[in-house]
Amino acid sequence: MSLNDTKLIQMFLKGDQNAFEELVHRYDKRVLALALKFTRDKDEAKDIYQEVFIRVYKGLKNFESRSQFSTWLYRITTNVCLTQQSRKKKYQHISIYDSQNYDDDETPGVEAMLKSDSRTNSRVEGREIKERVEVAMEVLSKQEKIVFTLRHLEEFKLKEIANMMECAEGTVKKYLFNATQKMRVALSDLY
């Protein structure tokens, strides 16, 4: 019979290392998946994974069970993702707007790499769409990317995301709107 998270935490705090390992195995695949989506770099994702679970290991003695363990874990994961220094600048963060004002009637400037010239009017294969979506997400800021990923890939509610990022729900909504608009423009030839 599987034990709940609270029971495993209690067992770990009494010295049972296996309990900690079981707790890790329940969630680590999702943490690694989030890190991979956020960084698109295996080495950075591995660093995030290690940092998250070492923090959990050290911090469990102070975990008060006021929130669910999974919420606390994701809060740590979000924090580590946002504060992670990139090892190398793989992608340039380019602004696809001349200004940040959505009401501006000027055509936003879009980098050539986000458009596929030869396929503008033709049907794009599923694999190419995936790649285009991944590349488009690189134009988002760290906060926008994490909100967009947590909402649309991990399917958390905005209130939960606000809790994880320790900010107001209104701020999270703003990141989501910004992210959606940027993705919309970056992939305007597809939709």
Partner: protein, 320 residues
């Protein structure tokens, strides 16, 4: 500016974040706004493609980070123990002035030590390799000894006698039979944490010889073998671990491990071995619990391999 409000409401609608009044408001607006109608379709496709762009986590990456985590946590444990012991000792016996004197003296000693290490040229030979002391062995059993970089030597073929060389601050060696608790702990450590699959394989082969002689191993060791069978990144290592489980008592740990392999291992050969394992045990009179039967029912539908599906169905039938 007002239309921006509806654009934002539309994004929240497609993200399922609206209350009923807001939902009605945006629905009424969409009925009369062709821009928002088109935008709704476009955003719906975008969010669907974003969801579909999700990739599976590579299992070898997952196994690799888990192994690294075990090592890192062990390092954390050994670090905190050293500092706790030193700090606790100093706190108890030193006054403020003596603390200052003690700290200065410690820095002086560290300086001498660093100088010695840099200026002293020593050659590593087997004679300079330390033997694991009984004090270290106690720390090992308590999980407070940091160990890495196993090398492996066996003194006799078809025997469970081992001599291990490994790093623990300094190079160390330990020779004994697998009946020795300390040797079991060392081997357990190596099969769970060592980077070299060859080492893990060789050690599990030695464990197989030991278990085949019907000798007992600790519960912790048995659990570690089960973990290797379930989670090791190398399929060859997982196979040997699974074969080891065959010779252990068919308890809940072993049963859960076999069911886990059946449901999760990507390697069809291993899943086949797991179902054959369960079939053998059932034919030898072992009963299947409710959890196993429920899992087997799932496998009859979900497994990609017809042989496994058939065997799972047969097992359920025989268990009735």
């Amino acid at each position: 500016m007002e239309h921006l409000y509806y654009e934002e409401l539309l994004i929240l609608k497609l993200s399922d974040e609206l209350n009923s009044e807001q939902f009605t408001e945006i629905e009424n607006h969409i009925l009369n706004c062709s821009i928002c109608q088109n935008e709704q379709i476009a955003l719906g496709k975008l969010f669907k493609d974003v969801k579909n762009s999700e990739k599976e986590v590579p299992m070898d990456l997952l196994y690799s980070v888990r192994r690294d985590l075990r090592k890192n946590l062990e390092l954390e444990n050994s670090k905190s123990n050293i500092f706790e012991n030193i700090f606790g000792f100093a706190k108890n016996i030193f006054t403020e002035n003596l603390k200052f004197v003690g700290a200065s003296f410690a820095i002086f000693i560290v300086g001498i030590f660093i100088g010695y290490k840099f200026l002293n040229v020593s050659s590593q030979s087997e004679n300079s390799i330390n033997i694991l002391s009984s004090a270290d062995a106690v720390k090992l059993e308590q999980g407070k000894q940091f160990i890495s970089g196993f090398k492996y030597i066996t003194t006799e073929s078809n025997s469970s006698n081992l001599e291990l060389f490994f790093e623990s601050v300094t190079p160390m060696r330990y020779a004994s039979d697998l009946s020795d608790k300390t040797m079991q702990k060392l081997v357990e450590h190596a099969i769970l944490r060592d980077d070299n699959p060859g080492i893990r394989l060789q050690l599990l082969n030695t464990v197989a010889i030991y278990i085949a002689e019907k000798k007992e191993i600790s519960n912790s060791f048995s659990r570690s073998i089960a973990k290797v069978a379930m989670f090791d990144e190398n399929p060859g290592v997982r196979r040997i671990a699974l074969e080891n489980l065959l010779h252990l008592p068919f308890d809940n740990e072993v049963r859960s491990a076999v069911v886990h392999i059946l449901g999760n291992d990507e390697n069809v050969g291993l899943r086949t071995s797991a179902i054959n394992f369960l079939t053998t045990k059932t034919l030898n009179g072992e009963s299947l619990d409710l959890e196993t039967k429920t899992a087997l029912k799932k496998f009859t539908k979900n497994d990609k391999n017809d042989y496994i599906k058939l065997q799972a169905a047969n097992l359920i039938e025989e268990a009735k």
